[in-house]
Amino acid sequence: MNRLATLKNLEEILQQFLTSVAKLESEQIETLRTISSLDDIARDSLRGRYVNNRLGDWMAKNRMMVDEGRLKKTSISAVGNLLSDIKNGLDVTDPESKKLADEIGSWFARGVVPGRKLVLSRPPENADPNLTDRFAGLVRRELEEIGYYREKGDHILSMLDDVLKSAEAKNDPIYLHLAGSIIYYLRNGGYKIEPYVKRLKSLEKNRIEISNA
């Protein structure tokens, strides 16, 4: 057998293996796709976009998946977390959004509950001896976030806009820190950053007010 024929044989074997895995895992892939599409809805909701129709469709399409117990425990937690994120962003004074919030509540009642651990609202009393490690962890997470936007091909200003929206919607210091880093970087590059500085300052002020309340 010549080299080309050997390579083609190998190609076929590898391709068959991957196709078989994809077939075997088709149910899991479908679940991942479903969770990922809910994640897209949650992200858009955080950006202030109108998601009611998409959320309603998603829930109608996937209700059976819950009722038939086709979700694993980890998937249930992931869906629960995402629904919780979306529910927090719904304006319940609007009847349509209220209906969706109630529907999310009924999913929670059926066991699709967020799987988050309890987060302490106060920092520990003792000084953290691993501050450098924690900082390294924060920067690592920021790099992952940046990687996501790079993969999408977003401009750095679109990324900054999104990061500021996330900082507004989520109580996670990573977004304020990342926004600050990007703004500092852009300022050094001579970009016009005043509107972003204003937004960051306002978010920082709100955060301090909330933590002092």
């Binding site: 080299r3 080309l4 390579l7 083609k8 190998l10 190609e11 590898l14 391709q15 293996f17 991957l18 196709t19 895995v21 994809a22 895992e25 088709s26 899991q28 892939i29 991942l32 796709r33 969770i35 990922s36 994640d39 949650a42 992200r43 955080l46 992931a78 977390n81 995402l82 994120d85 992952e144 976030e145 990687g147 996501y148 993969e151 989520k170």
Partner: protein
């Protein structure tokens, strides 16, 4: 919200199902930090990369 690794893993499996191995490889690389310790993940990522290398080699052989 799903983190970058989880999101990339979803996209990688999706691409694998569609037999888009180039895309799967890119997404596996994005997800590898989070899933690197898992045997299943390593096998899928390595096999995908090996398949792409073999395809490249075949193309080179044919061109020569």
């Amino acid at each position: 919200m799903l983190n970058v690794g989880e999101k990339a893993y979803c996209s990688a499996m999706n691409a694998l199902e569609k037999q888009d191995y180039e895309a799967a490889s890119v997404f596996f690389r994005l997800a590898e930090k989070q899933f690197a310790g898992k045997d299943d993940f390593c096998i899928l990522q390595s096999t995908t990369d090996l398949l792409l290398a073999v395809k490249k080699e075949i193309a080179t052989e044919k061109a020569e």
